[in-house]
């Protein structure tokens, strides 16, 4: 149990996907201009991460390892994640249209999100068990959502701030990302 909690917080804060591992940077800058957008992107990533690690772990350990074709993990994982996102999208579209509209463009966008693929690899590299990898994906998804929400809150505040013209928009976002990264580095060495 203690192991699982350590993995969860290690993934969410200490080794945060965006600010420490530098994965999923495109949505971090692209979708963090509004709080509502950031929230739907974060929840969509969390959902896909959960499903992806629940599927890629058995594929690696039950298929790739016994047949000694571990080198194919990249191509297989990309394929599997793309198919998963497709299936999730169809399911949501057919069952709950309101939710489908809320996710909108963000669900298909995740197909090519490096954070999801990165998580699948990290689960393998750290030699997590199935349950550990589920907790790792929960932590990673929540950490990603957290950072996106913090960033979008800051950027919404910046909208009404009087900035030097050259800094408005993306430049100030980069500067803020730097400070956020520094803040998250303070977690380093706490656990994991």
């Amino acid at each position: 149990m203690r192991e699982l909690v350590v993995i969860f917080f290690g993934m969410a804060l200490v080794n945060n996907f965006v600010l420490v591992r530098f994965l999923g940077l495109c949505p971090f800058f692209g979708v963090s201009t509004k709080l509502t957008n950031a929230l739907s992107m974060g929840v969509a990533v969390l959902l896909v991460m959960l499903v992806a690690s629940a599927v890629t772990w058995p594929i690696y350990h039950l298929l790739l390892v016994p047949y000694q074709v571990e080198f194919m993990e990249t191509v297989i994982f990309i394929l599997v994640i793309a198919v998963l996102v497709q299936i999730i999208e169809i399911t949501i579209r057919r069952t709950n249209l309101t939710l489908y509209r809320a996710f909108g463009i963000y669900l298909p966008l995740i197909t090519t999100n490096c954070a999801v693929l990165g998580l699948a690899f990290i689960n393998i590299r750290h030699e997590y068990t199935f349950f550990e990898s589920i907790f790792a994906s929960l932590g990673a998804g929540i950490g990603f959502t957290l950072v996106l929400i913090i960033m979008s809150g800051l950027r919404e505040r910046l909208e009404i701030t009087d900035l030097p013209h050259a800094f408005t928009g993306t430049p100030i976002a980069f500067i803020i990302a730097m400070f956020l990264g520094l803040a998250f580095l303070a977690f380093a060495g706490m656990i994991g």
Binding site: M72, I76, L79, V80, I90, T91, R93, T95, I160
Partner: protein, 279 residues
């Protein structure tokens, strides 16, 4: 070792095949989506897609869904940007099999201020009218004046509003305006009004506190509430709004008040783009 390439090829083929079958099964097993969804998607393609929300629905798709359920809805809650687009409107009407009376529905925004109200103090706060108005109803002499900090400019989806920095007032370009009405609630001074496109004139002032401090002391072009515009308009082109103590123009009739425009001592009954047709 020699069998590995074959296993690799087999593996990828197998995973690809299973994935394909999985998608097929999922799409067959799940119930078909709501048929009105596809209809709504088709209707949405016919809408301008500005997501302005002037129809009263949260976004174009929500409006399309409502229209798909109730085909008579556009007559009651029209998509105002669509009305501007003749060809788009024709396709929309043909698709739904109805006709929309555009003359009744086309609207334009206008600003009830002529600007020029002197500043009481220099304002260095947050660059927004809504913030500035928190400080003793703005920084102009006239408490009703346009503050010129461009809240309306920022919200306009078609960039129809500009700030005239010489006169220090917001101006609406009627060629670009689509009458969506987003700017009206954005103005903390309530200076922006929506009128029928055929309205030939409007009052470029919103000075209401006639009995406390006369407008003439606050602004060189403020209404002095003399009512001469009403007196020279025997056919009722100009009415009087007793609550605001300002002249009013009947939006239903949109009459051209040529005499009032000429007689106004402050010259603040301003002609709109529609006035040229009336002259």
């Amino acid at each position: 070792m020699s069998s590995q390439p074959i296993i690799t090829i087999l593996f990828l083929t197998l995973v690809g095949f299973v994935a394909g079958v999985a998608i097929l099964v999922v799409s067959k097993v799940l119930p078909k989506e709501d048929p009105s969804f596809e209809e709504a998607a088709r209707i949405k393609d016919l809408l301008p897609g500005g997501e302005c929300g002037s129809c009263g629905y949260p976004g174009c798709f929500a409006y399309a869904q409502a229209v798909a359920k109730d085909k008579q809805l556009p007559a009651r809650a029209p998509c105002r940007p669509l009305i501007q687009d003749k060809e788009g409107l024709r396709q929309f009407e043909a698709h739904l099999g109805l006709s929309i009376d555009t003359a009744q529905l086309a609207r334009r925004a206008l600003v009830h201020c002529s600007g020029n109200s002197p500043n009481l103090a220099t304002y260095n706060g947050i660059n927004s009218c809504r913030a500035a108005v928190q400080l003793a109803s703005g920084f102009r002499e006239c408490p009703y004046a346009c503050l010129g900090l461009a809240d309306c400019v920022r919200i306009c989806p078609v960039n129809a509003i500009t700030i005239d920095f010489e006169q220090r007032v917001a101006r609406v370009d009627w060629e670009k305006c689509i009458g969506c009405g987003l700017c009206a609630p954005a103005c903390p001074q309530n200076l922006i009004d929506l009128v029928p496109k055929a309205m030939p004139q409007y009052l470029g002032c919103n000075y209401q506190a006639a009995k406390e401090i006369p407008g003439r002391k606050r602004c060189a072009v403020g209404c002095i509430h003399c009512r001469i515009c009403v007196k020279v308009s025997p056919d009722g082109e100009v009415g009087w709004n007793e609550k605001k103590d300002l002249p009013s123009f009947d939006p239903q009739r949109s009459l051209f008040a040529a005499a009032a425009i000429a007689k106004c001592p402050r010259k603040i009954i301003l002609k709109t783009a529609a006035a040229k047709q009336s002259e």
